[in-house]
Amino acid sequence: MTDLHALYEAILGGKLEPAVEVTNQAIAEGIEPQKIINEYMIPAMEEIGARFEAGQAFVPNLLMSARAMKGSLDIVKPLLRGDSTTTVGKVVIGTVKGDLHDIGKNLVASMLEGCGFEVINLGVDVSSDKFIEAVKANNANIICMSALLTTTMNYMKEVIAAVEAAQLKGKVKVMVGGAPLTEGFARSIGADGYSSNANAAVALARNLMES
Protein backbone atom coordinates (compact mmCIF):
# COMPACT_ATOMS: atom_id res chain seq x y z
CA MET A 1 0.00 0.00 0.00
CA THR A 2 1.47 3.32 -1.08
CA ASP A 3 2.26 5.78 1.67
CA LEU A 4 0.74 8.89 0.18
CA HIS A 5 2.17 10.98 2.98
CA ALA A 6 5.50 10.38 1.20
CA LEU A 7 4.02 12.23 -1.79
CA TYR A 8 3.13 15.16 0.45
CA GLU A 9 6.66 15.17 1.86
CA ALA A 10 8.26 14.84 -1.60
CA ILE A 11 6.36 17.84 -2.94
CA LEU A 12 6.98 19.84 0.20
CA GLY A 13 10.69 19.01 0.01
CA GLY A 14 10.82 19.73 -3.72
CA LYS A 15 11.87 16.20 -4.65
CA LEU A 16 10.67 15.43 -8.16
CA GLU A 17 11.70 11.79 -8.55
CA PRO A 18 10.17 10.49 -5.30
CA ALA A 19 7.02 12.51 -6.04
CA VAL A 20 6.67 10.90 -9.46
CA GLU A 21 7.46 7.45 -8.09
CA VAL A 22 4.85 7.60 -5.32
CA THR A 23 2.26 9.04 -7.71
CA ASN A 24 2.82 6.19 -10.17
CA GLN A 25 2.48 3.64 -7.38
CA ALA A 26 -0.71 5.27 -6.14
CA ILE A 27 -2.25 5.27 -9.60
CA ALA A 28 -1.24 1.64 -10.14
CA GLU A 29 -3.02 0.77 -6.92
CA GLY A 30 -6.16 2.46 -8.19
CA ILE A 31 -6.25 5.39 -5.81
CA GLU A 32 -8.56 8.14 -7.07
CA PRO A 33 -6.55 10.87 -8.84
CA GLN A 34 -8.73 13.56 -7.33
CA LYS A 35 -8.00 12.23 -3.85
CA ILE A 36 -4.24 12.33 -4.58
CA ILE A 37 -4.50 15.93 -5.74
CA ASN A 38 -6.85 17.27 -3.10
CA GLU A 39 -5.52 15.48 -0.04
CA TYR A 40 -1.78 15.39 -0.70
CA MET A 41 -0.56 17.57 -3.58
CA ILE A 42 -2.50 20.74 -2.90
CA PRO A 43 -1.89 20.66 0.87
CA ALA A 44 1.86 20.25 0.20
CA MET A 45 1.87 23.30 -2.07
CA GLU A 46 -0.20 25.24 0.44
CA GLU A 47 2.29 24.36 3.18
CA ILE A 48 5.35 25.45 1.16
CA GLY A 49 3.48 28.63 0.24
CA ALA A 50 2.71 29.31 3.91
CA ARG A 51 6.36 28.72 4.83
CA PHE A 52 7.42 31.12 2.08
CA GLU A 53 5.06 33.81 3.35
CA ALA A 54 6.43 33.26 6.86
CA GLY A 55 10.02 33.64 5.65
CA GLN A 56 10.77 29.99 6.43
CA ALA A 57 11.19 28.99 2.79
CA PHE A 58 12.68 30.78 -0.20
CA VAL A 59 12.03 31.08 -3.92
CA PRO A 60 14.14 27.99 -4.82
CA ASN A 61 12.08 25.94 -2.35
CA LEU A 62 8.89 27.15 -4.04
CA LEU A 63 10.27 26.33 -7.46
CA MET A 64 11.41 22.85 -6.52
CA SER A 65 8.04 22.12 -4.92
CA ALA A 66 6.22 23.43 -7.99
CA ARG A 67 8.43 21.24 -10.17
CA ALA A 68 7.67 18.15 -8.08
CA MET A 69 3.98 19.04 -8.07
CA LYS A 70 3.94 19.45 -11.84
CA GLY A 71 5.72 16.12 -12.30
CA SER A 72 2.97 14.41 -10.31
CA LEU A 73 0.18 16.40 -11.90
CA ASP A 74 1.40 15.40 -15.36
CA ILE A 75 0.77 11.78 -14.36
CA VAL A 76 -2.69 12.25 -12.89
CA LYS A 77 -4.01 14.91 -15.27
CA PRO A 78 -4.70 12.57 -18.21
CA LEU A 79 -6.77 10.44 -15.87
CA LEU A 80 -8.95 13.43 -15.10
CA ARG A 81 -9.78 14.07 -18.75
CA GLY A 82 -13.35 15.18 -19.18
CA ASP A 83 -13.52 16.23 -15.57
CA SER A 84 -14.12 19.93 -14.99
CA THR A 85 -11.25 19.97 -12.50
CA THR A 86 -8.62 19.08 -15.14
CA THR A 87 -7.40 22.64 -15.16
CA VAL A 88 -7.94 25.30 -12.51
CA GLY A 89 -7.99 27.97 -15.18
CA LYS A 90 -6.17 29.27 -18.23
CA VAL A 91 -3.66 32.07 -17.87
CA VAL A 92 -2.01 34.06 -20.65
CA ILE A 93 1.20 35.49 -19.24
CA GLY A 94 3.85 37.83 -20.64
CA THR A 95 6.29 40.63 -19.98
CA VAL A 96 4.93 43.78 -21.57
CA LYS A 97 6.16 45.46 -24.73
CA GLY A 98 9.54 47.12 -24.43
CA ASP A 99 10.62 45.01 -21.47
CA LEU A 100 12.96 42.04 -21.82
CA HIS A 101 12.98 40.83 -18.21
CA ASP A 102 11.40 37.44 -17.91
CA ILE A 103 12.64 35.59 -14.86
CA GLY A 104 9.99 36.96 -12.48
CA LYS A 105 7.28 36.26 -15.01
CA ASN A 106 8.59 32.73 -15.53
CA LEU A 107 8.57 32.12 -11.77
CA VAL A 108 4.91 33.05 -11.67
CA ALA A 109 4.21 30.88 -14.73
CA SER A 110 5.95 27.95 -13.12
CA MET A 111 4.08 28.33 -9.83
CA LEU A 112 0.75 28.63 -11.64
CA GLU A 113 1.49 25.49 -13.65
CA GLY A 114 2.58 23.68 -10.52
CA CYS A 115 -0.73 24.59 -8.93
CA GLY A 116 -2.82 23.27 -11.78
CA PHE A 117 -3.33 26.26 -14.07
CA GLU A 118 -2.82 25.96 -17.79
CA VAL A 119 -0.32 28.63 -18.72
CA ILE A 120 0.26 30.16 -22.14
CA ASN A 121 3.60 31.91 -21.81
CA LEU A 122 4.01 34.59 -24.47
CA GLY A 123 7.55 35.51 -23.44
CA VAL A 124 8.89 39.05 -23.32
CA ASP A 125 8.22 42.27 -25.24
CA VAL A 126 4.57 41.31 -25.67
CA SER A 127 2.26 43.78 -27.42
CA SER A 128 -1.39 44.34 -26.51
CA ASP A 129 -2.39 42.68 -29.80
CA LYS A 130 -0.51 39.53 -28.87
CA PHE A 131 -2.17 39.40 -25.46
CA ILE A 132 -5.62 39.79 -27.00
CA GLU A 133 -4.96 37.22 -29.73
CA ALA A 134 -3.77 34.70 -27.16
CA VAL A 135 -6.78 35.28 -24.92
CA LYS A 136 -9.15 34.71 -27.83
CA ALA A 137 -7.26 31.72 -29.22
CA ASN A 138 -7.10 29.96 -25.86
CA ASN A 139 -10.30 31.19 -24.28
CA ALA A 140 -8.18 32.30 -21.34
CA ASN A 141 -9.57 33.31 -17.96
CA ILE A 142 -6.72 35.54 -16.86
CA ILE A 143 -4.10 37.85 -18.38
CA CYS A 144 -1.01 38.09 -16.23
CA MET A 145 1.40 40.93 -17.05
CA SER A 146 4.86 41.66 -15.73
CA ALA A 147 7.25 44.63 -16.02
CA LEU A 148 10.52 45.43 -14.30
CA LEU A 149 10.87 49.06 -15.30
CA THR A 150 8.93 52.18 -14.40
CA THR A 151 9.15 53.08 -18.07
CA THR A 152 7.57 49.89 -19.34
CA MET A 153 4.97 49.28 -16.63
CA ASN A 154 2.78 52.01 -18.10
CA TYR A 155 2.23 49.81 -21.15
CA MET A 156 -0.01 47.66 -18.96
CA LYS A 157 -2.61 50.38 -19.20
CA GLU A 158 -2.60 50.01 -22.99
CA VAL A 159 -3.18 46.29 -22.70
CA ILE A 160 -6.14 46.89 -20.38
CA ALA A 161 -7.52 49.41 -22.87
CA ALA A 162 -7.14 46.79 -25.59
CA VAL A 163 -9.06 44.28 -23.43
CA GLU A 164 -11.90 46.77 -23.18
CA ALA A 165 -11.76 47.57 -26.89
CA ALA A 166 -11.96 43.85 -27.69
CA GLN A 167 -15.04 43.64 -25.41
CA LEU A 168 -13.29 41.13 -23.21
CA LYS A 169 -13.60 43.10 -19.99
CA GLY A 170 -15.28 40.93 -17.40
CA LYS A 171 -14.63 37.82 -19.48
CA VAL A 172 -10.92 37.87 -18.78
CA LYS A 173 -9.38 39.11 -15.53
CA VAL A 174 -6.15 41.08 -15.51
CA MET A 175 -3.47 40.64 -12.87
CA VAL A 176 -0.17 42.50 -12.79
CA GLY A 177 3.16 42.26 -11.02
CA GLY A 178 6.78 43.31 -11.19
CA ALA A 179 9.34 45.07 -9.05
CA PRO A 180 8.26 48.71 -9.54
CA LEU A 181 4.51 48.02 -9.29
CA THR A 182 2.26 48.66 -6.34
CA GLU A 183 -1.31 47.83 -5.44
CA GLY A 184 -2.13 51.49 -6.03
CA PHE A 185 -0.66 51.43 -9.52
CA ALA A 186 -2.60 48.28 -10.34
CA ARG A 187 -5.84 49.91 -9.22
CA SER A 188 -5.06 53.13 -11.10
CA ILE A 189 -4.74 51.31 -14.43
CA GLY A 190 -7.86 49.22 -13.86
CA ALA A 191 -6.23 45.86 -13.23
CA ASP A 192 -8.25 43.28 -11.31
CA GLY A 193 -5.38 42.37 -9.05
CA TYR A 194 -1.74 42.81 -8.09
CA SER A 195 0.67 40.44 -6.43
CA SER A 196 4.17 41.08 -5.14
CA ASN A 197 5.53 37.54 -5.48
CA ALA A 198 5.01 34.24 -7.26
CA ASN A 199 3.31 32.58 -4.31
CA ALA A 200 0.84 35.41 -3.84
CA ALA A 201 0.19 35.37 -7.58
CA VAL A 202 -1.21 31.85 -7.33
CA ALA A 203 -3.56 32.86 -4.50
CA LEU A 204 -4.63 35.91 -6.49
CA ALA A 205 -5.26 33.87 -9.64
CA ARG A 206 -7.40 31.45 -7.64
CA ASN A 207 -9.39 34.34 -6.19
CA LEU A 208 -9.89 35.86 -9.61
CA MET A 209 -11.19 32.54 -10.91
CA GLU A 210 -13.80 32.52 -8.17
CA SER A 211 -14.84 36.17 -8.49
Partner: protein, 232 residues
Protein backbone atom coordinates in the same frame (compact mmCIF):
# COMPACT_ATOMS: atom_id res chain seq x y z
CA UNK B 1 37.25 53.03 -26.31
CA UNK B 2 39.51 50.74 -24.31
CA UNK B 3 38.13 47.20 -24.32
CA UNK B 4 39.14 44.26 -22.12
CA UNK B 5 38.20 40.60 -22.23
CA UNK B 6 38.98 39.20 -18.80
CA UNK B 7 38.88 35.48 -18.15
CA UNK B 8 35.80 34.23 -16.35
CA UNK B 9 38.11 33.01 -13.60
CA UNK B 10 39.37 36.58 -13.13
CA UNK B 11 35.87 37.88 -12.37
CA UNK B 12 35.24 37.80 -8.62
CA UNK B 13 31.69 36.69 -8.10
CA UNK B 14 30.16 37.57 -4.75
CA UNK B 15 28.17 34.54 -3.64
CA UNK B 16 26.20 36.63 -1.15
CA UNK B 17 24.94 38.79 -4.01
CA UNK B 18 23.93 35.69 -5.97
CA UNK B 19 22.02 34.35 -2.97
CA UNK B 20 20.43 37.78 -2.49
CA UNK B 21 19.38 37.72 -6.14
CA UNK B 22 17.77 34.35 -5.45
CA UNK B 23 15.65 35.90 -2.70
CA UNK B 24 17.63 34.80 0.35
CA UNK B 25 18.34 38.30 1.63
CA UNK B 26 21.01 37.84 4.27
CA UNK B 27 20.04 34.22 4.99
CA UNK B 28 22.38 31.41 4.04
CA UNK B 29 20.88 28.86 1.64
CA UNK B 30 20.79 25.19 2.54
CA UNK B 31 23.82 23.08 1.61
CA UNK B 32 22.10 21.49 -1.40
CA UNK B 33 21.28 24.93 -2.83
CA UNK B 34 24.82 26.19 -2.27
CA UNK B 35 26.11 23.09 -4.05
CA UNK B 36 23.62 23.68 -6.88
CA UNK B 37 24.87 27.26 -7.29
CA UNK B 38 28.51 26.14 -7.26
CA UNK B 39 27.86 23.57 -9.97
CA UNK B 40 25.97 26.11 -12.05
CA UNK B 41 28.85 28.59 -11.79
CA UNK B 42 31.21 25.87 -13.03
CA UNK B 43 28.91 25.21 -16.01
CA UNK B 44 28.68 28.91 -16.78
CA UNK B 45 32.46 29.20 -16.65
CA UNK B 46 32.54 27.05 -19.78
CA UNK B 47 30.35 29.42 -21.80
CA UNK B 48 30.88 32.89 -20.38
CA UNK B 49 33.13 35.42 -22.08
CA UNK B 50 32.86 38.64 -20.09
CA UNK B 51 33.87 41.94 -21.62
CA UNK B 52 34.19 45.52 -20.43
CA UNK B 53 35.29 48.78 -21.92
CA UNK B 54 35.38 52.48 -21.18
CA UNK B 55 35.86 55.80 -22.88
CA UNK B 56 37.12 58.81 -20.92
CA UNK B 57 35.70 62.18 -21.96
CA UNK B 58 36.12 65.62 -20.37
CA UNK B 59 33.19 67.07 -18.44
CA UNK B 60 32.08 70.24 -20.19
CA UNK B 61 29.65 71.40 -17.51
CA UNK B 62 27.68 70.14 -14.53
CA UNK B 63 24.18 71.48 -13.92
CA UNK B 64 21.74 70.65 -11.15
CA UNK B 65 20.22 67.74 -13.04
CA UNK B 66 22.55 67.13 -15.94
CA UNK B 67 26.07 66.82 -17.30
CA UNK B 68 27.41 68.03 -20.60
CA UNK B 69 29.81 65.57 -22.16
CA UNK B 70 31.05 65.30 -25.74
CA UNK B 71 28.70 68.08 -26.80
CA UNK B 72 25.67 66.19 -25.49
CA UNK B 73 23.53 66.80 -22.44
CA UNK B 74 22.92 63.79 -20.27
CA UNK B 75 20.08 64.24 -17.78
CA UNK B 76 21.42 62.32 -14.80
CA UNK B 77 18.88 63.66 -12.27
CA UNK B 78 19.20 65.54 -9.02
CA UNK B 79 20.41 62.58 -6.95
CA UNK B 80 23.27 61.40 -9.15
CA UNK B 81 24.51 64.69 -10.66
CA UNK B 82 26.14 66.11 -7.48
CA UNK B 83 28.56 63.18 -7.46
CA UNK B 84 30.09 64.56 -10.66
CA UNK B 85 30.76 68.12 -9.41
CA UNK B 86 34.43 67.44 -8.75
CA UNK B 87 34.94 65.43 -11.92
CA UNK B 88 37.36 66.69 -14.56
CA UNK B 89 36.31 63.89 -16.83
CA UNK B 90 34.02 60.88 -16.83
CA UNK B 91 34.50 57.30 -17.87
CA UNK B 92 31.54 56.04 -19.89
CA UNK B 93 31.53 52.28 -19.52
CA UNK B 94 29.89 49.06 -20.57
CA UNK B 95 30.38 45.68 -18.88
CA UNK B 96 28.70 42.50 -20.01
CA UNK B 97 28.49 38.78 -19.34
CA UNK B 98 28.60 38.54 -23.13
CA UNK B 99 26.60 37.10 -26.00
CA UNK B 100 27.72 33.52 -25.53
CA UNK B 101 26.31 33.45 -22.01
CA UNK B 102 23.13 35.16 -23.22
CA UNK B 103 22.61 32.51 -25.90
CA UNK B 104 23.29 29.74 -23.39
CA UNK B 105 20.73 31.27 -21.01
CA UNK B 106 18.14 31.35 -23.82
CA UNK B 107 18.78 27.67 -24.55
CA UNK B 108 18.41 26.87 -20.86
CA UNK B 109 15.06 28.70 -20.81
CA UNK B 110 13.82 26.76 -23.80
CA UNK B 111 14.56 23.51 -21.94
CA UNK B 112 12.00 24.63 -19.39
CA UNK B 113 13.67 23.84 -16.06
CA UNK B 114 12.70 26.91 -14.06
CA UNK B 115 15.11 26.14 -11.22
CA UNK B 116 18.10 26.06 -13.58
CA UNK B 117 16.88 29.19 -15.31
CA UNK B 118 16.33 31.02 -12.04
CA UNK B 119 19.75 30.22 -10.62
CA UNK B 120 21.56 30.93 -13.90
CA UNK B 121 19.75 34.26 -14.17
CA UNK B 122 20.84 35.28 -10.66
CA UNK B 123 24.43 34.27 -11.43
CA UNK B 124 24.28 36.16 -14.74
CA UNK B 125 23.26 39.36 -12.98
CA UNK B 126 26.20 39.02 -10.62
CA UNK B 127 28.58 38.30 -13.51
CA UNK B 128 27.59 41.63 -15.08
CA UNK B 129 28.09 43.43 -11.76
CA UNK B 130 31.39 41.65 -11.09
CA UNK B 131 32.59 42.56 -14.59
CA UNK B 132 31.69 46.18 -13.85
CA UNK B 133 33.69 46.00 -10.61
CA UNK B 134 36.62 44.60 -12.59
CA UNK B 135 36.25 47.54 -14.96
CA UNK B 136 36.40 49.98 -12.02
CA UNK B 137 39.61 48.34 -10.80
CA UNK B 138 41.12 48.57 -14.27
CA UNK B 139 40.08 52.21 -14.65
CA UNK B 140 41.52 53.13 -11.25
CA UNK B 141 44.79 51.42 -12.17
CA UNK B 142 44.91 53.24 -15.51
CA UNK B 143 44.21 56.78 -14.24
CA UNK B 144 45.93 56.48 -10.84
CA UNK B 145 49.47 57.08 -12.18
CA UNK B 146 48.19 60.36 -13.66
CA UNK B 147 47.13 61.58 -10.22
CA UNK B 148 43.48 60.86 -10.86
CA UNK B 149 40.97 59.13 -8.63
CA UNK B 150 37.68 57.57 -9.57
CA UNK B 151 34.22 57.75 -8.03
CA UNK B 152 31.42 55.22 -7.82
CA UNK B 153 29.79 53.85 -10.91
CA UNK B 154 26.26 55.07 -11.60
CA UNK B 155 23.86 53.60 -14.13
CA UNK B 156 20.80 54.90 -15.98
CA UNK B 157 17.63 53.41 -14.55
CA UNK B 158 18.62 53.96 -10.93
CA UNK B 159 18.14 56.78 -8.44
CA UNK B 160 16.03 58.93 -10.73
CA UNK B 161 18.40 58.74 -13.69
CA UNK B 162 15.94 57.82 -16.40
CA UNK B 163 16.74 54.69 -18.35
CA UNK B 164 16.10 56.49 -21.66
CA UNK B 165 19.36 58.39 -21.07
CA UNK B 166 21.07 55.18 -22.15
CA UNK B 167 20.53 56.51 -25.66
CA UNK B 168 22.75 59.53 -24.91
CA UNK B 169 25.35 57.37 -23.21
CA UNK B 170 25.53 54.92 -26.09
CA UNK B 171 25.66 57.77 -28.63
CA UNK B 172 28.92 58.82 -26.99
CA UNK B 173 30.42 55.33 -27.34
CA UNK B 174 31.46 53.45 -30.48
CA UNK B 175 28.78 51.36 -32.14
CA UNK B 176 28.01 48.14 -30.23
CA UNK B 177 30.51 48.60 -27.41
CA UNK B 178 31.56 45.11 -26.24
CA UNK B 179 28.86 43.84 -28.61
CA UNK B 180 26.14 45.49 -26.51
CA UNK B 181 23.14 47.07 -28.27
CA UNK B 182 20.12 49.04 -27.08
CA UNK B 183 16.50 48.47 -27.98
CA UNK B 184 13.85 51.17 -28.31
CA UNK B 185 13.10 50.89 -24.58
CA UNK B 186 16.79 51.50 -23.84
CA UNK B 187 17.33 47.98 -22.58
CA UNK B 188 20.61 46.30 -23.37
CA UNK B 189 21.30 43.07 -25.22
CA UNK B 190 22.92 40.92 -23.89
CA UNK B 191 20.53 41.52 -21.00
CA UNK B 192 23.20 40.73 -18.42
CA UNK B 193 25.06 43.98 -19.04
CA UNK B 194 25.77 47.12 -17.04
CA UNK B 195 26.47 50.59 -18.42
CA UNK B 196 27.06 53.92 -16.79
CA UNK B 197 29.38 56.70 -15.77
CA UNK B 198 32.25 57.08 -13.34
CA UNK B 199 33.66 60.43 -12.25
CA UNK B 200 37.41 60.89 -12.78
CA UNK B 201 39.55 63.65 -11.27
CA UNK B 202 42.14 64.45 -8.63
CA UNK B 203 39.48 65.58 -6.14
CA UNK B 204 36.94 62.86 -6.87
CA UNK B 205 35.92 60.69 -3.93
CA UNK B 206 34.48 57.23 -3.85
CA UNK B 207 31.67 57.31 -1.30
CA UNK B 208 29.62 54.57 0.32
CA UNK B 209 26.93 53.94 -2.24
CA UNK B 210 23.64 52.35 -1.52
CA UNK B 211 19.96 52.95 -1.27
CA UNK B 212 20.60 55.69 1.31
CA UNK B 213 21.17 57.90 -1.74
CA UNK B 214 17.58 57.78 -2.85
CA UNK B 215 14.24 56.83 -1.40
CA UNK B 216 12.23 56.15 -4.52
CA UNK B 217 9.21 54.08 -3.56
CA UNK B 218 9.07 52.40 -6.97
CA UNK B 219 12.62 51.04 -6.79
CA UNK B 220 12.80 47.32 -6.04
CA UNK B 221 15.98 47.79 -3.98
CA UNK B 222 14.19 50.20 -1.66
CA UNK B 223 11.27 47.79 -1.47
CA UNK B 224 13.59 45.01 -0.34
CA UNK B 225 15.14 47.32 2.24
CA UNK B 226 11.72 48.32 3.58
CA UNK B 227 10.59 44.71 3.69
CA UNK B 228 13.69 43.78 5.67
CA UNK B 229 13.11 46.62 8.12
CA UNK B 230 9.47 45.58 8.55
CA UNK B 231 10.47 41.99 9.25
CA UNK B 232 13.20 42.88 11.76
Amino acid sequence: MVVFNPLFSDISLDLKEIYRGMGYGDAKPEENIRQYVAEMIARIGEVCEPCFGYEILPVESVGTHDLKIGGRTMVTGSIITPFFRKAESVALFVATAGHRFDEWLHRLRSEGDIMEEFVADAIGSEIAEATARKMSEQLAADVGPKGMKIGNSYSPGYCGWHVNQQQVLFALLPEKPCGVTLNASSLMTPIKSVSGLIAVGPEVESTPYGCALCGRADCYKNRLKQKKQTES
